[in-house]
Structures are given as C-alpha cells and as structure tokens.
C-alpha cells in the first residue's frame, strides 16, 4: 500500500543554515505520525514544505505516491492547523468552516449541511453563528481542526496546535485529538516539542534534532531502546554520566565515570572498546530504592547515598540522592507504596539498577 505521505531526502537550506537536512520518512494511511524535537530544530520548516509554503532545496514530497512539488499550496490535498490556529477573525464560525468548501465551489445548501455535520462531530453543534472570539481555547482548537476536516484532506498537518493552551486543557485535548483522528480516519502529521504529547497520541514518532531525524519508531521503541544519546536524553527523563570504558564483554560494559564511580551498562550492539569515551543514561523510574543494602543486592549497580531533596509531585514524586562516594546527584522516582512516606532530607538511601536499564553510548564530553 502506498503511504499517504512520503518525504525523500528532504533538505532545506536558509542562506547558511541547514534547517532540514536529508530527512526521509513515510506516513502510512490513517496513522498518527509525530515529529518531536526541541525548538528551532526544523519541525515547522518540514511542515511548511509539505503544505507548499516553502520549496525544498532538494528532495521530494509525495502524497499518495504522487510528487506534489509542482502543486501550489491551495491545490495540495493537505491542510494545516497552524501553531496559533489562524482562524479568520472577520468571519463567524460557520463561515470559517465553510471557507474551504466555498473555495471548492460547493453549493450553499451543501456547505450548510456539511458545516452542521462537522460541528456535530466535534461536539459543538449549533455554534455556527458565533464569533471567533466568543469561543474558549479548546473550542477554537476543535474549530481549527474541523475547518480542515470538512475538506477531507489526504493528510492533516498540525503544527504544535496545543502550544497556546493551558496544561489542564492540553491534557484533555491530547485524548480528544486522538479520538478526532480515529473519528475522521485521516492521516495526522503532528509536530510538537512536548514529548508527552508525541508519546501519548502517536503511532510513530520521529525525534528530530538540528535538522536531522535522530530516530524513528513507536513511542515504546524510543523510550526503551533509544538509538542515539540525544534520543535517550530527550525522550523521558534520564540521569547521565560520562566516562571511559573500563572493560567490555559482549553486551555488558563497565564504565568508569569522571567522578570515579564504576557503572555497568548495556551497549546494545554498539561497538565500545576499552579506553573509549562513553556515556551512560539511566531513567529515574528504572532505579530501585531501598532503605537497607540487601533490598538492592540483586542489581549490578548499587549506590549508597543520602537524600538531598524530596520533590513531591503526587504520583510523580522524585528524590534527589547524593552519591556518598562521588558527590554526584541522581534523580530517582519514588515508589508510592507507602514504604518511603516518612523519608526525610538527609536520610540514608540505597539505590540500584540493572545493567540492562543503563544504556551506553560512545562519545560524550567531560
């Protein structure tokens, strides 16, 4: 089956900066594809090339197997939900949604029924007469999507559409967007710098950095099996150490960190020989906490430390543990089983993790 959207070696250079550098990906029909990356990494630039507002320096963009490079933005079968929504303030809601249909030459009656239908579908029936500024943030959001969806595009592009909303509404809209996507059964390409948005909603996520795709995979793959240090550091939280390889046997490597701690991690097939510089990533939630040393005796990595601060955040509470040997601070997730409810600052704590939970990469500075 041909993918709905395919980019082949897409590159865009502005003057001297390479905003997008040799990016290739395919988005299968009906799937939710996200591009996740820090601010300024070139996400919007990719979107604008797909929508037709920018010409790629080189490479090709295909929609349903056909190159669209020669097609003007208003003729492409893609629509875009803009970062700040860009609803038309001079029109009411009905006219906003009907705008694209009017351009396509639909009859008045047809427009009215379709607008009614789509408003019904997004759960806002009967607001066609309202003005844009009489809606809440979340409602505007849905209108912006509905405005594109009435045109039944092959691909819907969404450029950080939740960026302007407050946290609570954002959480709500994440679920809502996902259900809208399955309701309309359209391919969504979603860009964001917020990893939780990307991980929760997407079938596939591409992690982007400085114009390149670092890794492309499902949320699970990115989280459990990051292929590059950037992905390991960007997706989810991580503790990071750097040092040199002390010994390596098969998949297991021993690394002596700069601060003098010896850690065991897994190289997952990456070549790491004795003497190489290396870095280790361990997720706070992969670390086991115990009050006594025998609680963590099964783990390859064991550290004795003291609680240097408690960051209470309900279910996501954390402790910062100061390593007694090296003085470094380690971010550890606190289990909510009640065992640690009385933990106080300065209390001694034993922490440990498996070699398999510590991902090692070559390189890294200091």
């Amino acid at each position: 089956m041909t993918p709905d959207l395919e980019c082949v070696k897409l590159t865009k250079t502005f003057d001297t900066i390479k905003a997008v550098d040799d990016v290739s990906f395919q988005v299968p029909a009906g799937s939710f594809f996200s591009i996740l990356g820090p601010s300024g990494c070139g996400k919007t630039t990719i979107m604008r090339m797909v929508a037709g507002f920018l010409d790629p320096t080189s490479g090709d963009i295909q929609i349903k197997g056909k190159s669209v490079l020669d097609i003007a933005p208003n003729k492409r079968p893609v629509n875009m939900v803009f970062q700040h929504l860009a609803l038309f303030p001079m029109m009411n809601i009905g006219d906003n949604i009907g705008y694209g249909l009017r351009r396509a030459g639909a009859s008045k009656a047809e427009i009215a029924t379709k607008v009614g239908e789509v408003l019904e579908r997004i759960g806002l029936p009967g607001i066609a007469e309202r003005k844009v500024d009489q809606l809440s943030g979340g409602q505007k959001q849905r209108i912006a999507i509905a405005r594109c969806m009435v045109l039944e595009p092959d691909v819907l592009l969404l450029d950080e559409p939740l960026g302007a909303l407050d946290l609570k509404l954002r959480e709500h809209m994440k679920i809502e967007l996902k259900s809208l996507q399955s309701a309309f059964d359209t391919t969504f390409v979603y860009i964001t710098h917020d990893q939780s948005e990307a991980l929760v909603m997407s079938d596939q996520v591409a992690v982007m950095n400085e114009g390149r795709f670092e890794q492309l995979g499902t949320a699970r793959e990115l989280y459990y099996d990051p292929k590059t240090p950037f992905v390991a550091g960007f997706v989810g939280d991580s503790n990071r150490w750097s040092g040199t390889v002390d010994a390596s046997s098969g998949n297991e490597v021993r690394i002596k960190t700069v601060s003098g701690v010896s850690l065991t991690g897994s190289a997952q097939g990456r070549p790491l020989a004795k003497g190489d510089r290396a870095q280790v990533f361990v997720r706070p939630e992969a670390i086991r906490v115990a009050l006594k040393a025998d609680g963590i005796s099964a783990f390859e990595n064991r550290i004795v430390g003291t609680v240097s601060s408690l960051l209470f955040n309900g279910a996501n509470s954390r402790v910062l543990v100061r390593d007694d040997a090296s003085g470094g601070e380690i971010d550890v997730a606190l289990p909510q089983s009640g065992e640690f409810a009385s933990l106080t600052k300065g209390a001694p704590l034993h922490i440990g993790w498996n070699a398999g939970q510590a991902t090692c990469f070559a390189g890294g500075t200091e």
Partner: protein, 285 residues
Amino acid sequence: MRAEARLGFILLLTPLLLWLTLLIIIPHIDMFLISIRERVAVRTYETGFANYLTFFTEPLYLVTFMRTALMSVLATVMTLIIAFPVSYYIAKIAKGRLQSALFLLCLVPFWVSELVRTFGWMILLRETGIFSNLLQFVGIVDGPVEMLYNDTAMMVGLIYTSMLFMVVPLVTTLESLDDSVIEAGYDLGGNAITVTREIVIPHATPGIVSGCIVVFMLSLGNYLTPTMLGGKESLWFTELIYSQFIVRFNWELGAAFGFLLLGLSSFIVWIALRLTGQTLEKTMG
C-alpha cells in the same frame, strides 16, 4: 490624593479645551453668525439665509461644489487603489531593512513644503518641462506639449499629496494581520483574489475607511494643488471661498460657502461610513 488627581486631569485637559474653543468652536460660531448676515445696504445688515440662497441659485457655485466633491471622491478612490498594493508590499512582503526603507521613502516627500512639492510637478509637466522635452527627444511628439493646467495634472498632484495619509493607516492595519491567517486562506484553497477579498480587505477595512476619510477631507479642502496644477476648467470650491473672502470682500457669502463645504464633507463621510458598515469609533479607535 483625589483632589490632586482632579487637578492633574484639569491641567491636562486645559490645552485641549483651549485649542478646541479658541481655534475651532469660536471661529465657527463667528463664521456662522457672519454667514447668516444679509447686507441690505451699506453697513446695514439683517439676519437671514440669503447667502445660502445665492449659492443654490447660482449654477457656477453649485457646479463647482459638485465637481469638487466628485473629484475628491475620485482622488480618494484612486489613492486607495494605488496605495493598497504598495502598503501590502510594505507590510507583508518586504522584510527587515527593505521594509523600513520603503516606508521612509513614502515619508521623504513630506520633508519639503507642499509648495515646493507642487512646484516640482510643474517643472516636470510644463511645456518646457522634463516630460515634454523627453517626449520630443524620443520622437513621440514633434512640438512641445503642455501637460499642466488640466484635471489630470491636478488629480496627479492630489493623489501625490495624499498618498502618505493612505499608506500609513493601511500599513498599520495590514501589519496587524497575522501572516498565518493569510497562509491559512491559501491552504484551504483560496487564490490571491479570494484571499484578498475575504481575508485581507475585511481585516483592513478600518484602515481603509480612516485613510479614505483623511484623504477625502484633505482633497476637498486643498487649495494649493488645484490652483497651481489645475486649469481654468478645474475650479475648486476652496478657490471660490478664497475669492469671496479675499478678492470680493464678501465675507458673508464666503462664510456660507465654508459652512456648506463642512456640511458636504460631513455628509459624504457619513454616507461612506454607512455604506461600509463602519462606525467612527471603530475606525479611529
């Protein structure tokens, strides 16, 4: 504290009130009183509307009046047609230094006085002027051509004088239109014409209306340009007022003309606002 605030308010308001009463209200009241004075014999006056009646019974006055109004409307519309793409380019297409440079270019002619500017057009357009010589040199015409003293020359002068007052409000309103709104217009299937009609113009309407009001008022009340560039045929109503006051010493009729011009401009502005569905508050605020 409250008393101090009140004092500050009064002090701030005083210059405005002085300006309004001394320069606008009092002269107009006086003008109105003069305009309803009829001279029945030497130094004897009666109150009545005879001056206004004179205006309606004398075809020259009436024709000049209507002509001035129509030509001003025409000048306004043409200024708008020329200024709109220019403003769109400055506000939306030009970026960075080019943008400020272009805006400055619109402003530069206003650093010299209106008299000198108008004289510049005379140098260009007169029989022995640059255009005439150029045309002869290229061989398009055999003898010198006179391009001054007609309606076209006057229209050119009026548009030139008014340009800035149209460009400034247009650039301001167009700049406030988010680029992504225009892009959304294209993205959803619009072309240049429909995006302009449905998105850009509705957004720019307050700027268009306020620009048009200012340009219309300036054209209607312009004296210099019609006098210097216009011909015998293109008599402007302000010239009639001038001649009543200064040449004929008929202040009574001049004052009446002045009031008629005020009424006319207010009336046309009111009609224009009604037609575009705008209010004065919306366009000025």
